[in-house]
């Protein structure tokens, strides 16, 4: 594991709302976190709390409603809808105010104010839209310019055969670089190893699909890479020509892992990769992910609900409850000093392989209405200890500080 502070992924005030009729479902509401290079970030919470939606929003499977997602410093997703809403709201406000306004001067002032807000939001909207659409181009431009810097002087210096060879190499690299997409640096491992593999494709086709889309045309290289990946995840070459149904659950999940890492990603979003597996196979997959992480320095966003696995695997853990991040800390810290009542209730529900302890274990029930009084003082996400954040209001903050002392 690398111990640097380079931030690979930054999620800023991410909001993801779903509309059904007039009802707005806030699946993810104002979630912010950072993932540093080389670390495993665990995301836990009960089903329906927005863990998976967060993962999918990051990989741009959804158009996010509000907030920003930065990957390698480039904004890859930005909420357009929130700006649109702001414009509409400003217009509506202005209309209301105009109706009650008396003098012309006041009317003019209100109009100006409104126009200023609209213009500002429009500019932001345009920027966000541009970033959203062209983040891949920005990244490939960066790669292309790097390539040019590297190859052009070499080609100029070289002559004869060597020059031709270099030019060919350069062209090939350029072809790939132009087609490189930033988002392909983020790969996903899905929960259900049965549903996430196309039953009509062979394992070779499944694993190589990403490479082909990216512009790799040489069949030999593709085959070689596929075999390499298969061996890496503990399968053998002969498996390449088989179909997914011929494999057991653990092996299928391995194929899913191979498909993700063949793209040589920097970030893997593992969406409950072991939930559907047997204990022994679960251990195999966790060990595999651990090995890969050590080998490639992968960064992993690990989404799961099995807390003992998350604790074992992650460096930092974020706890989500109904679309909100309620607590974020390093994994040891979180299990040692759980502050938020929901985290406590979650930790009290973990079953452990110890019958005597289990028979005495008392589950703490979390009732947000009873646990908090947010009628006056609204909660915010505060740092109670270096690296330990809790969603709380002032009174609770004081209380938590007391507990920590």
């Amino acid at each position: 594991m690398q111990n640097n502070n380079e931030v690979l992924l930054k999620v800023e005030n991410l909001c993801q709302y779903f509309r059904s009729g007039t009802f707005v479902n806030k699946a993810v509401d104002n979630v912010s976190f950072e993932i540093k290079k080389g670390e495993v970030f665990g995301l836990v919470g009960e089903s329906g709390c927005g863990k998976t939606t967060t993962g999918r929003s990051i990989i741009k499977l959804y158009n996010i409603t509000g907030g920003n997602v930065y990957f390698k410093g480039i904004r890859i997703a930005a909420g357009i809808q929130s700006y649109k809403d702001a414009i509409e709201k400003a217009k509506a406000d202005a209309k209301e105010k105009l109706a009650s306004a008396k003098s012309d001067a006041e009317k003019k002032r209100i109009n100006d104010e409104c126009n200023a807000i609209v213009a500002e939001n429009k500019a932001k909207l345009k920027e966000a839209d541009y970033d959203q659409k062209h983040c891949d181009r920005a990244y490939s431009d960066r790669l292309v310019s790097n390539l040019k810097e590297k190859f052009l002087p070499l080609i100029e210096k070289a002559s004869g055969d060597e020059k031709a060879k270099l030019t060919a190499e350069y062209k090939e690299a350029l072809h790939k670089a132009k087609r490189t997409k930033l988002v392909t640096q983020i790969q996903m491992i899905f929960q259900d190893p049965i549903a996430s593999l196309d039953p009509r494709m062979t394992v070779r086709e499944i694993i190589a699909e990403g490479l082909i889309i990216q512009g790799e045309r040489n069949k030999e290289i593709i085959d070689q890479k596929v075999f390499e990946m298969l061996e890496l995840v503990g399968l053998v070459r002969e498996h390449a020509s088989r179909y997914p149904h011929e494999f057991s659950g653990g092996q299928r999940q391995r194929i899913g892992v191979a498909r993700a890492i063949i793209m040589n990603p920097d970030l893997i979003i593992a969406d409950e990769p072991v939930s559907a597996l047997d204990v022994s196979i679960q251990a195999q997959v966790i060990n595999l992910l651990n090995d890969l992480r050590e080998k490639f320095g992968l960064t992993i966003l690990f989404i799961a609900h099995d807390l003992s696995v998350v604790k074992y695997f992650s460096d930092r853990i974020g706890v989500m409850y109904y679309g909100k991040m309620v607590e974020l800390a390093s994994s040891d810290e979180l299990f040692l000093n759980p502050l938020h009542p929901y985290t406590r209730s979650l930790l009290s529900a973990i079953p452990l392989p110890d019958p005597i302890y289990e028979k005495q274990r008392q589950r703490i029930v979390y009732n947000p209405l009873a646990a908090h009084d947010y009628s006056i003082d609204k909660p915010t996400f505060r740092e109670v200890k270096p690296g330990h954040f809790v969603q709380c209001n002032e009174a609770e903050y004081q209380e938590y500080m007391k507990i920590l002392k």
Binding site: I286, F313, P353, I356, R363
Partner: protein, 721 residues
């Protein structure tokens, strides 16, 4: 402990195009009343097949190779599908692994929840009535036999008493169920008021109109002679006011006036529910036979008065007669048992001959069955399974034996023919690319052994029962018999109508933690998330109030909090209803929570069997170690030890220990012979050669010993606190 279910030597295979897959290979276990047995193992170890066999829902290509599953005096492997309808879902219920495939996608949740209740409710009512009538008749007969064998007047008197019992028992139940409805609605109203008041104070209340209406309905329903009587007028006045105030309060978003009314209602109801319940049994008798209204007095005095009236006029003499009947029945039964033992011992040589004689055997079987049938005490509430299953059990074995004699000849001929063909080809210099399959002959010796074992087992059982003769408490048994009558009568009176079923279903949905159950009641399965769907499935399984609950990985797809809730729910129901649970899972944390006893299965066999503490702290089988070490807990930092390889192909099961190929502790003998079950303590068994006295001493893997040490340390620390 009373044994509910016995599984003996169960063996099941599946016919596939590639050959016969041996899914379960001879497993044995017992399930006591109110106990949880966990079956642990990897997928493909035969856990689910075992549970499906118990429920009689094996796939069409399954072959039951042998064994018995004994429940309530029946062998579930041998009874007809018709008989199974009465057991499946009603007595034995199952929660399946995949909620999506166990719900009907085009039927509303409410319908699916109440369907079983209504269907089974009718069947149960019919059955209770039948049981009640037959049992009363039998006890009547036995009472007459015991104390009035030749006395006509006395016999008539006893019959009249039984008739009277029948009459006033129904009266009693009517009274009691009316009281229960009122009492329960009062309790429910209190609960609802508590919740809604809390939410009103927090100003986060939803769905006010509907809930207030519910509270009002429940409060009205709780007006009853022995629940809310004195304050009933006030209660009705407040509820009327409550209904009128609600819309206004909602508009203003100010609930203070509602809160005071609700508090007063809760106060009245609390006082009412705290009052003691009168003795309806005695009251039923008084009202039926005294021909006069109840005397006016407080409940405690009334109880004493009624009780005395009942005892003087009826109960004492009835109990006395009933006791005589029970003793009489038991003594005839003991005599029959002695006779049966002699007969069984005498008949043993007939079944031990080298070649059984068909006529002689069937005659002996018939005679023995008569004798055994006489040993069944009709007044016994817990059925003597062995006596009941003797007749069909031996008969099926005999049929098998005599049919096999003919069939074996044909099979051997067939085999010889193929062998001859093979030899011919081989002799002419060709090497055929096929093998001669073994002749499909039935092992006659094995069948014979089964018969003899059944006889021996029955003799042993009867001898044990005769030895325990002097320890029986007939007073207790008489009371139990009368209680049995009462409970069956209540099954007749408590009808399950659509409204009752709906109320029950909504209560169940609340119990399993589904928010807004009334709205959810009318939704379709696709509108629910995975966790919610699983809760519905659990609610359906519990709806029929089963004896035995089989849970096939019910919480594997759920997250921790809900998993924890569901496990608590199952545990609670288990305690309340004395439910026996078979819990199948591969999550050892869940097992630790649920299990009283654990059976670890691998490749169709039970490899380790013991109480939860023994299996977790003193695991003896390498497979159990492997399972324990492949699972991280909160303090695990080291690399997990995954079990290498995959389970063996059960078309060709290994000769020796099935786990040997994946076992790093495997010895030479593991590949050659199957280990027997070694006894470690009275309750703890394991099938591994490591326990053989000649085996080298092997310690469990470090990760397991470390964890056990850590747990002990933690527990010590928490005790010190």
């Amino acid at each position: 402990m009373e044994t509910k279910l016995q599984v003996r030597d169960l063996a099941i295979s599946f016919r596939t195009t590639n050959g016969k897959v041996q899914a379960v290979r001879g497993i044995n276990f017992d399930l006591a009343k109110g106990e949880t047995l966990s079956i642990v193992g990897e997928s493909g170890s035969g856990k689910s097949v075992t549970s499906k066999a118990i429920l009689g829902i094996l796939a069409g290509n399954s072959i039951v190779e042998g064994g018995e599953i004994i429940y309530d005096g029946k062998d579930l492997l041998k009874i007809s599908e018709e008989d199974f309808h009465k057991i499946r879902g009603d007595k034995i219920a199952m929660i399946f692994q995949d909620p999506m495939s166990s719900l009907n996608p085009i039927v509303k949740i409410g319908r699916q929840l109440t369907e079983a209740m209504i269907l089974k409710g009718k069947a149960r009512q019919r059955e209770s009535k039948l049981t009640f009538n037959i049992y009363l008749k039998t006890i009547n007969q036995k009472m007459i036999d015991a104390s009035a064998a030749n006395d006509k007047t006395k016999a008539d008197e006893i019959s009249a008493k039984c008739q009277n019992f029948n009459k006033f028992e129904y009266k009693h139940l009517e009274l009691e169920s009316a009281y229960n409805t009122a009492h329960e609605s009062a309790l429910e109203a209190i609960d609802m008021i508590d919740v809604i008041s809390f939410e009103m104070e927090k100003n986060a209340v939803k769905d006010v109109n509907y809930r207030i209406k519910q509270i009002v309905r429940l409060s009205k329903a709780s007006v009853h002679d022995y629940v809310v009587k004195k304050d009933s007028k006030e209660l009705l006045a407040i509820t009327a006011k409550l209904v009128k105030d609600t819309p206004k309060a909602r508009k203003l978003n100010d609930y203070s006036s509602l809160l005071t009314s609700l508090a007063r209602i809760a106060e009245i109801l609390r006082a009412a529910t705290a009052a003691p319940m009168p003795n309806f049994f005695a009251m039923g008798y008084y009202l039926t036979f005294a021909n006069q209204p109840l005397p006016e007095m407080p409940i405690a005095e009334l109880d004493v008065y009624l009780r005395k009236y009942l005892d003087d006029n009826f109960m004492l003499s009835f109990i006395e007669d009933a006791k005589k009947g029970v003793i009489y029945s038991a003594s005839t039964c003991y005599a029959a048992k002695e006779a049966a033992i002699a007969a069984l011992k005498e008949a043993k040589p007939i079944f031990a001959k080298a070649e059984l004689d068909s006529k002689e055997c069937y005659a002996a079987h018939k005679a023995l069955s008569e004798k055994v049938k006489a040993c069944i005490d009709p007044l016994e509430i817990i059925k003597d399974s062995l006596s009941y299953t003797f007749e069909p059990g031996v008969k099926s074995e005999l049929d098998k034996y005599f049919k096999a004699i003919e069939k074996n000849k044909v099979e051997v001929k067939k085999h010889d023919k193929i062998q001859a063909k093979y030899d011919r080809l081989a002799a002419s210099g060709k090497t055929p690319d096929w093998k001669v399959p073994a002749a499909a002959v039935t092992d006659l010796e094995l069948v014979k052994k089964n018969i003899n074992r059944q006889i021996d087992r029955l003799i042993e059982h009867y001898e044990a029962s005769l030895a325990a003769k002097s320890n029986r408490d007939y007073d207790k048994e008489t009371v139990a018999a009368i209680d049995h009558l009462k409970s069956n009568a209540s099954g007749v009176v408590n009808k399950v109508t659509k409204q009752v079923a709906k109320a029950k279903a909504i209560k169940l949905m609340e119990e399993v933690g589904i928010a807004e159950p009334r709205k959810r009641y009318n939704q379709y399965p696709f509108e629910f998330s995975g966790g919610m769907r699983q809760r519905i499935v659990i609610a359906i399984a519990l709806a029929a109030n089963p004896d035995i609950l089989i849970c096939d990985e019910p919480t594997t797809a759920l997250d921790v909090t809900i998993q924890s809730q569901i496990l608590e729910l199952i545990n609670k129901l288990k305690r309340e209803r004395q439910l026996s649970v078979i819990f199948i899972t591969h999550d050892l944390g869940v097992v630790a929570n649920m299990a009283d006893r654990i059976a670890v299965m691998y490749a169709g066999k039970i490899v380790e069997y013991g109480s939860a503490e023994e299996v977790f702290y003193e695991a003896a089988h390498p497979y159990t170690w492997a399972l324990l070490s492949s699972m991280p807990d909160l303090d695990t930092n080291e690399k997990l030890e995954a079990i290498p390889g995959t389970p063996p192909n059960m078309i060709y099961p290994p000769v020796g220990d099935a786990f040997a190929a994946r076992n790093k502790y495997a010895m030479k003998i593991d590949f050659e012979r199957q280990p027997p079950m070694f006894k470690i303590t009275d309750t703890h068994y394991a099938a591994t050669w490591l326990l053989h006295p000649d085996a080298p001493k092997v310690d469990p893997p470090k990760i397991v010993t470390d964890r056990i040490a850590r747990m002990k340390e933690k527990r010590g620390a928490s005790h010190a606190e």
